[in-house]
């Protein structure tokens, strides 16, 4: 290829490039002379500004750009004439050339590039490239919004977590407070029971003891009326003592944590019999243990108390001219042990069989104090606290068969 050919081709390419820039470029291209008079105005500008090249060519930029001076556009062009290019970001010059967007009620976002056109050493004019960045801005705005949403979401999640933490803390505080109150009221109850057991029982011990001393030491010299009166004092003191003991046992059973462990029925029975030595000797009671008594899961002291109450009833509620005979046996039932306490006592009417375990809890009149109520209520309460149960099968005049059931050890 010779030089002429190369030159022709270059010239053609230049021409094509100019044509492309004029007709097809997706940007606005504006050229001025050094006077800032419009010398080129491409198709993009014609289409978007609705001003034909013929309308604007030769006119000064200030006639075409609204507020040319105010918006300091003049400054940029003067800089360009000095050879200094400027980029006008859409961020600061949202609408370089105010072009309303059809049907969207807003203007085209643009960025602009203003530079000088130089021939040799000499500035002969300016060139301005205007780009439509509406979509990019929209995309950015969307991203921005998303980022904000995420931030907001994070913030609200943080707020939620904060509120949750706060609520948790409040809850914990309330639980702490409630526990404290309960502990306090428990301690108060314990103190109350303690005081009752000490201060209320001392005078009763003395009333009973001294009534008995009167009877022992002076009974022979007193007439029957006096002796009977002493007997009433002694009996009242005894039932009062029994009542206080039962109340204490009941309140204790209701609030104390019972630690469960394997317990030998034989051992517990022995301890219960120890507690009733006097009563049993006086009544000439006989207790018979049948076969090997199983081991159960229970709280030892509570179980001793339960046996003591059941045995005491068996000894107490017998026909006067009969000696109490009590038979203890145990049997296995589905992983539980049932212990039978059978007596030859006065028995319980069928309709009272369930009621006798409940009397204490709904006792109102003083008449309810007497009898088996308290002891059996304690039995049931104690078994309930240990995951057990109890019952009775009875025949009036023949005897009662009480049973208690607890998990096998």
């Amino acid at each position: 290829m010779d030089i002429a050919e190369t030159t022709i081709q270059e010239t053609l390419l230049h021409a094509a490039m100019l044509a492309w820039m004029n007709d097809l470029a997706p940007q606005g291209i504006l050229v001025t002379d050094t006077e800032l008079r419009v010398r080129a105005w491409n198709k993009w500008l014609e289409i978007n500004t609705h001003q034909n090249a013929s309308q604007v060519l030769g006119r000064h930029l200030s006639e075409i750009f609204p507020n040319f001076d105010l918006r300091s556009l003049k400054q940029y062009y003067e800089n360009a004439l000095q050879g200094q290019a400027s980029v006008l970001s859409h961020k600061f010059h949202t609408h370089f050339f105010p072009i309303p967007l059809q049907g969207q009620g807003c203007f085209m976002h643009q960025s602009a590039y203003i530079a000088s056109l130089v021939m040799g050493e000499q500035v002969i004019g300016t060139i301005t490239l205007i780009e439509d960045v509406t979509e990019r801005v929209a995309r950015e705005a969307e991203l921005q919004k998303k980022a904000e949403d995420v931030t907001r979401l994070l913030a609200s999640e943080q707020a939620a977590r904060f509120l949750l933490d706060e609520a948790n803390a409040q809850l914990e505080e309330r639980v702490r407070q409630r526990t404290h109150e309960l502990t306090e009221s428990n301690a108060a109850l314990e103190f109350f029971s303690y005081s009752i057991s000490h201060d209320l029982r001392a005078p009763i011990r003395n009333i009973l003891g001294f009534a008995q001393i009167l009877e022992e030491d002076y009974g022979a010299t007193l007439d029957k009326g006096a002796r009977d009166s002493i007997g009433v004092i002694a009996n009242s003191a005894r039932s009062m003592e029994g009542l206080i003991q039962a109340l204490l046992d009941y309140s204790r059973l209701s609030r104390v944590e019972l630690a469960l462990e394997p317990v030998s029925i034989t051992e517990v029975l022995g301890a219960a019999k120890d507690q009733l030595t006097v009563q049993m000797r006086e009544a000439h009671a006989v207790i018979e243990e049948v076969g090997e008594l199983s081991r159960v899961i229970a709280h030892k002291q509570t179980l001793i108390q339960i046996f003591s109450n059941l045995l005491s009833n068996a000894v107490k509620f017998v026909d006067q001219n009969r000696a109490p005979r009590i038979r203890i046996s145990s049997e296995s039932r589905d992983g539980r042990i049932r212990v039978w306490i059978e007596d030859n006592g006065i028995g319980i009417r069928r309709q009272d069989e369930q009621r006798i375990f409940e009397m204490f809890e709904r006792l109102h009149g003083p008449e309810s104090y007497s009898g088996m109520g308290i002891g059996l209520t304690l039995v049931r309460k104690g078994l309930e606290r240990m995951g057990g149960c109890c019952g009775v099968i009875s025949q009036v005049g023949v005897g009662s068969r009480f049973w208690i059931e607890l998990p096998a050890a």
């Binding site: 303690y194 003395n206 009973l208 003891g209 022992e216």
Partner: protein, 158 residues
């Protein structure tokens, strides 16, 4: 026997050449009389010294501590709830005192609250017994005490 009056804090019951001196710290006069009467009825022979509260008990123990006096207690029955100074304070003092750290002590209290029993056992007692109501029950209590302590006594006729 006689009943100690409220302003006489120590009462001695002497029945000859007994070798044991039982200190009873008990604020309730009735309880004290009932117990000592039962001891006497069951022919327990010992000098009985009564302290009406914990402080009297400590004062007495201190007085016959070092050098030991004849009526230095050989056994000590201690109530827990007493005015001025309670039973536990006395028991603590006794266990820390070189003269008495091995003194046999039985706690005799109105109730057997578990925490009290544990505390007493921890400090070291021969038994924790609950004051019963009724003379028969008291006799039973004394039998228990006699089973634990070999106090000089004559068995009852029956």
């Amino acid at each position: 026997m006689s009943i100690a009056s409220e302003n006489v804090s120590e009462e001695r019951q002497s029945s000859g050449n007994e070798i044991c001196t039982l200190l009873i710290a008990e604020d309730n006069l009735g309880d004290f009389v009932l117990l000592t009467r039962t001891l006497a009825k069951m022919n327990v022979h010992c000098t009985i010294v009564r302290a009406q509260n914990g402080r009297e008990a400590l004062e007495y123990l201190e007085r016959c501590g070092d050098p030991p006096l004849n009526d230095r207690p050989t056994h000590f029955i201690l109530d827990l709830k007493m005015p001025i100074l309670g039973g536990f304070e006395v028991l603590e003092w006794v266990r820390e005192n070189s003269n008495y750290k091995n003194l046999p002590v039985i706690v005799l209290s109105s109730s057997a609250i578990e925490s009290d029993v544990l505390k007493a056992e921890k400090l070291g007692v021969d038994a924790y017994l609950v004051k019963p109501a009724g003379l028969e029950e008291l006799a039973e209590l004394v039998r228990k005490i006699l089973a634990i302590w070999k106090l000089p006594h004559k068995s009852q006729a029956n």
